[in-house]
Amino acid sequence: MSLLALFHWFEQTAIGNTIRQSHWLFPVIEAVHLLGLGFVGGEVLLVDLGLLGLGMGRKSVAQLSKDVGPWLIGSLAVMFATGIPLFLSESIKCYYSFAFWVKMGALFSVILFTFTVQRRVIRMPTARPWQFRFTALVSLILWSAVGWGGRWIGFS
């Protein structure tokens, strides 16, 4: 089965159909998705600004990221729970949208990066300042790409 055929199948799922036929389901789900973005943004910025040495003290970053961790995972869960139905309702449009593929690429890279490389660097007792800054920059750039990609899916 080709990828396009798979996306056609996604579009025909019951969830996708229900959302497409409703006037208000898509806007409401999308609004919650946007709220999730705000929460994820706050949690990511809190940790990354700390790592960059702008704002939070660097010593407390390990503690901070541990504190914020559950909220980040919770917010991401909300993002997926709302994002997947949105995708199912317009998967063909997404298939042909460049912004969608940018967003997906950035999203999976940044999740992988955050929970492997960045987390390890934060907890390393001997990490250098440049290592902190590097992981923060990578994380910020990738998350920005996710956000911009998401917004631009809607503009096409």
Binding site: F39, G41, G42, L64, V68, W71, W143, W148
Partner: protein, 260 residues
């Protein structure tokens, strides 16, 4: 006690202002987008210039005089003419500028809303319980202030690009009211319990007044984001009739041939 008085006063003011805006006057000939001026015979080129739709210079957008119009319809006329000004139309019709500004508005959501929410969560005692409140505030504040400034600038530009429709949007009005309430909440928090922050900065669970302020802030900002997103949808727009009378009343909509 003082804060309660402040809240009730502000609430009354808000209700008063809203109803002042929704007064539509008695004889309304609804100047919507593009006020139609009829040229009299023998008019000079200058009046023809003034009457043309798209070329209204910025300085001429005064409140209309004459006619018995309420504040609401004067504002409708004002925003209609604002929308007809060259810059506003240019921004609205540009290929990329509008989308770009809107992207900035959304992106800054993370900076402003995200960090404000993190602070609220700390005040509620739901996250970062061992970070001193005063320290968190001192470090987050510059970022949230910067975020808020970007939000206001980009948001004003978005409003300026589509002034009349935004002004008459029920969601925009809900958003503005909640924005005022959120501002009031900040004022009460900073002039009240936050004055004594040093005494409870280390508390894992801050005092009740602080938690109440944080809860209000959280609910209001979430409401602002949700209603802000809904401005994009035209379910209750003036040019989509019939609408329930209450919707038309609350949005200064005079259904009969109101522009567009």
């Amino acid at each position: 006690m003082r804060s309660r008085l402040l809240i009730s006063l502000a609430g009354l003011m808000l209700v008063f202002c809203y109803f002042a805006i929704t007064t539509n006057g008695t004889s309304v000939n609804s100047p919507g987008r593009g006020t139609r001026l009829t040229l009299e015979s023998g008019s000079s080129e200058w009046t023809a210039f003034l009457a043309s739709r798209k070329a209204v210079p910025l300085g001429t957008m005064l409140f209309e005089e004459g006619d018995n119009k309420g504040i609401g319809q004067s504002l409708v006329g004002f925003f209609g003419r604002l929308g007809d000004s060259t810059w506003s139309a240019g921004l609205h019709e540009s290929r990329y500028a509008y989308d770009f500004i809107e992207s900035i508005h959304v992106w800054t959501l993370c900076l402003f809303f995200g960090l404000a929410v993190m602070f609220d969560l700390r005040l509620l005692g739901w996250a970062m319980r061992d970070v001193p409140v005063a320290e968190l505030a001192r470090r987050l504040l510059p970022w949230t202030v910067a975020g808020f400034v970007i939000m206001v600038i980009s948001g004003s530009l978005l409003f300026y690009a589509i002034p009349l429709r935004s002004f008459q949007s029920i969601f925009f009005r809900i958003k503005m009211i909640m924005l005022l309430l959120a501002g009031l909440n900040v004022l009460i928090f900073h002039s009240g319990i936050y004055q004594r922050v040093e005494t409870w900065s280390l508390d894992a669970k801050p005092p009740r007044a602080a938690r109440v302020a944080a809860a209000f802030s959280l609910v209001l900002w979430i409401g602002i984001v949700l209603s802000g997103r809904m401005i994009a949808y035209n379910w209750f727009d003036c040019d989509r009739q019939p609408q329930p009378a209450i919707v038309n009343f609350l949005t200064n909509c005079v259904p009969d041939g109101s522009g567009n």
